[in-house]
Symmetry: C2
DNA sequence: ATCTGGGTGTTATCTGCATAACAGACAGCG
DNA sequence: CGCTGTCTGTTATGCAGATAACACCCAGAT
């Protein structure tokens, strides 16, 4: 039924072709599968490290399907302070709040070179109406976001910075992790400042915290400046202290 | 197909009647209209003050359409600490996370006598597929929730307790407020402990904060123990200090 | 009327974290 | 090559808010 159309790199697609293409592409990406090929007849936008996909204030109305790269989503206050709500990578979607009528305060910035396909909310709605199973996927996306935000609130309300830091590291390991033995390398360049924005603490605290964890052998740096963590040990440590 | 077993106290409705009824009911309530009558052939559940609609851990799969009353949604940690994410009242919906596959950690508790109509996520999906405009409403519901949670994160990350308190009071005035002159009465009994859980601070701080605001004439109590705030003055105060 | 228990107001002390201010490491660039 | 900018590590000082411990009030129960 979804008539998975040929999906080719080059062949420019007609309208009649495009819709089902979008449909299965959404399906794939919403599910987090790595079938980027399916979106290849839509034009991806390129973003370099540090470039913003959408910003607070702009009335962006598109979701972005990340084909490759890593982006942070967060916000910045009038006074220039920043928080990071979440990190998303290839195969995931950002900008879901473009579905909202209310004014939003979020933005997305590439942490490394990223390609992402913008799809307007209207197009997404249309697609969903033709491909019902996608509805569940879309809603699951919102649920995951919401869950994540609520967890962050709980964490801020009750845990001290050290616990929030270890939690953040564990989350990152889960999301961006490449296992190596019983250690996991976090495959992205995160500055301490960015970690601090995820933890909602001052950079100095993060520096101290990482130093402590390093001395205990729970964390180390690769030559490339990536973090390598030992999730098991980290969890233990966090539980004990 | 939705095989909704008849549910009625009085008029049992046929299947053919029930569906459109649910559809327009959803429509109305999602939009926040006060047309409770439309849901009257579904059975509402009664909850007394303090009773929980759904709890963490239980695998509740229903949304609740609040017909009357006020509920808090929040969570509680292993160690018994509580946060409140949001307050919802008649005409609104809670339990949207029952749409999630992932394990949730939220719960809803009545702040006063409340009646709410539970509708399973499956039923909601079916209804939406027959009544497309509802889709937008449902998604807006998720967006509002998410927006709210993100705002709470930002607030916790950057504002001190006093600012969070005034913000909470202003939000409450907006949601539960009954205007009286240029003051607004918050039409619910909120203990300082509950305010503290919304602000994510210790009760003592809230007590001190309210005392301060009261001395400045920005807040007062009604004989019934409700709070009355002066939103304009409160906003000024919050901006200055 | 007394007792109880939940809510409130207040203070004194302790502590985690922000603040501020550097010094070193390293990378790219003139 | 030394210069710049960005990132990291480390300290000393100050403060907001947690902790702890009360006394007070009022409503409902006995």
């Amino acid at each position: 039924m979804p008539g998975n159309p040929n999906t080719l790199q080059f062949a420019p697609s007609s309208l009649r072709e495009e819709e089902p293409a979008l449909s299965s592409a959404l399906c794939c990406i919403f599910r987090g599968r790595f079938c980027r090929a399916l979106l290849q007849n839509r034009n991806a936008q390129q973003f370099e490290k540090g470039e913003t996909l959408y910003d607070v204030g702009r009335n962006e109305d598109s979701f972005f399907f990340i084909r490759s790269g890593v982006v942070k989503i967060g916000t910045v206050t009038e006074t220039g302070e920043e928080v990071i709500f979440d990190i998303r990578k290839a195969g995931e979607v950002v900008g879901e709040l473009s579905a909202s009528n209310s004014p939003r305060m979020d933005r997305a910035v590439a942490l490394e070179a990223t390609e992402a396909v913008p799809v307007s909310y209207e197009e997404i709605l249309e697609t969903i109406q033709k491909n019902q199973p996608l509805l569940r996927e879309l809603i699951q996306l919102f649920c995951d976001s919401l869950l994540n935000a609520q967890e962050q609130v709980t964490s801020l309300a009750f845990r001290d910075t050290m616990h929030r830091l270890t939690k953040t590291l564990l989350d990152l390991a889960g999301q961006l992790g490449r296992p190596t033995g019983n250690r996991v390398e976090i495959t992205a360049h995160l500055t301490q400042e960015e970690l601090a924005q995820m933890v909602a603490a001052r950079r100095e605290r993060v520096s101290l915290g990482l130093g402590l964890l390093r001395r205990h052998g729970l964390v180390e740096y690769t030559p490339h400046g990536h973090l390598v963590v030992d999730p098991g040990a980290l969890r233990d440590y966090s539980a004990k202290n």
